[in-house]
Symmetry: C2
Amino acid sequence: MHWQMGWISNRRGPHPHMAGVTILDVARAAGVSTSTVSNLLNGRTERMLPETRQRVESTIRKLGYRPNRAARQLRTGKPQVIGLVVPSVGNPYWGALARHVEAAALTQGFHVLLCNSERDPGRERQYVDELVSDGIRGIVLCSSLPSLEHVSSLLEDGLRLVAFDRTAQATDPVGLINVSVDNTIGAELMGEHLVSLGHRRIAFVSGAIRSINRTERFEGFLRALERAGIARQDVVTWPGSSVDSQFGDVEAAELGRVATTELLAGPNPPTAIFAVNDMTAIGVCRAVRDAGLEVGQDVSVAGFDDIVLAELYSPALTTVRQPMKEMAAAAFRALHTPQDDDGSGTSLLFRPELVVRDSTGPLAG
Amino acid sequence: MHWQMGWISNRRGPHPHMAGVTILDVARAAGVSTSTVSNLLNGRTERMLPETRQRVESTIRKLGYRPNRAARQLRTGKPQVIGLVVPSVGNPYWGALARHVEAAALTQGFHVLLCNSERDPGRERQYVDELVSDGIRGIVLCSSLPSLEHVSSLLEDGLRLVAFDRTAQATDPVGLINVSVDNTIGAELMGEHLVSLGHRRIAFVSGAIRSINRTERFEGFLRALERAGIARQDVVTWPGSSVDSQFGDVEAAELGRVATTELLAGPNPPTAIFAVNDMTAIGVCRAVRDAGLEVGQDVSVAGFDDIVLAELYSPALTTVRQPMKEMAAAAFRALHTPQDDDGSGTSLLFRPELVVRDSTGPLAG
DNA sequence: ACTCCCTGGTGTAACGATGCACTGACCATA
DNA sequence: TATGGTCAGTGCATCGTTACACCAGGGAGT
């Protein structure tokens, strides 16, 4: 009978896996049922003789058995995988996040599926839908969208969603957890730092202040200046221009450059410039130098984020550090803690740290 | 009978999925068998009335059906996922690769599992093993190991492995495909560029020349200088020091700094310095400035890779660009082309491009 | 009328793990 | 001797998809 030949030669099915030791192999070798092996694997050890447990465990090791994730997922509906959606992992900031999220996931045996939205809202939404329909129940989303209302139905269906680099908003769907640095405090620290160096005319450079992050950073910055007796209306900002739309990476630097060139050419130019992030700060530095001035000497420049670049740049950038590793770990953990229905704990704010390097210095003259 | 109640209320099983439209739902709605739907899904359309095909296709769309990846993998053994193992996605070079690999995968409906080896050979090996035993059959590996012999058994078992940023070696296991930029040509281009600027005393800075990349870059560099009549023994290199071990990211810059400081303090210092990569070049720049000299004016500095940073740095770095997007796409494609048993085509070399910016300039005086 | 082939499908046993409902053995109590 | 209660497991239906083996019905060749 040829079906029997098929059965014999094809114990592993039509497409044999490489690491083909199954739970059945373990069960047989240990002289127990697959149920017992499964029970052990899933922590139901209380119904088991320690001796049996030992035997099964050693069999698992001897055979090099590893549970098949696909089969497990098919059965449980929960894959050991989380999704990570970032604008672009080519950006050092998101690259660092991806690195630390993956490290955190690894400690719990989870894998990370990487998705680059390229700042395309449609693509971002599609990725989330796709991950969900692939059975993934936990996603770290770094959205470029101000509103996350479109995911509320997924949240209601049990998806665990962590929004990274974003603080909670009033209109947020319930169940959403936000992980972010405390932008307000960070900007306040930087404001204080610049004031303490003697600067009084300080500019804030960013794109059109629409995103939550930018708003918060601006607010914190203002707060520090007002405390130092600088009136709100005396704070220099850049009005924005045609360059200003959705920026990423290199464009952010370009924005800083354009803004600074205008600012320095104007009447009564600032002696210090606080950029909304490090990429922008780099563009600011370039413009300062292009104007024949020295960064840290003639004009102080500060950034935000503390990307790798900041330390390496020349001059090394004074900036506000986000505790990336801790934030990434918290984001991953939040994916597994059941949601608090009391509505609290939907925002995890981390304390930023002021990092003073060479791009800021005391007011000259 | 309570089992019946269970069956009724639990049509989706004990852990209901969110997007629960199955192939059976489609089959029923279209009035065909699941086999027919499956046949359509897998391109076996030749045995099918065009009319039937239309009906099934529109049903799929109407119901928003998406095949369950876990079930598909369980059956076929081949997940729609590839693995990407990089030293650290926090490094802009690898971040850029990850971004483009993911984009290439997306075009074919594949997802990318991200793994950071953190330059730990054990971790790198473990990741590969883990991916394989999870059923993944295609991996892009950016190894820190000079030899890849340990994966040969996996290759024999049908794993498709692409080694990125590495050229083929004599001892490579068969079936391994290498994707890399042509380091020799790239370095040659840079050597020519520096020579054409009038430099005669040019240093090559890297860690201990052990890795394949570094060796090739050094060779190409030498070739250009020899063609210009500069004897091999006159080429300045840095002997290496205690700082020199396995470097990554920030450490690479530090290496460049230390090396350059020594070089400039020595007798007859070089007028141009070619660093093995951009990170190192950045460290070189810092040391040049620390010595009171100006980059691009007093001393020319060149890098390799053209990471984002290079353009943003100040001065903008002259470097050798790797066509990352094309290389990433080729790496992904190589994962799916059957292996050529004739042994050819195991190395894909891409043509680099010289990018002249501000860090190099004509010999002063 | 009979075989043989072709077309356009269908039936169904797996893939590997899970976890509920069950059970046989043993002990304690009534 | 019933009765009940642990203990330490086991049996098996099930998740959604695939692909091989099969089959009905029609036409062509002999």
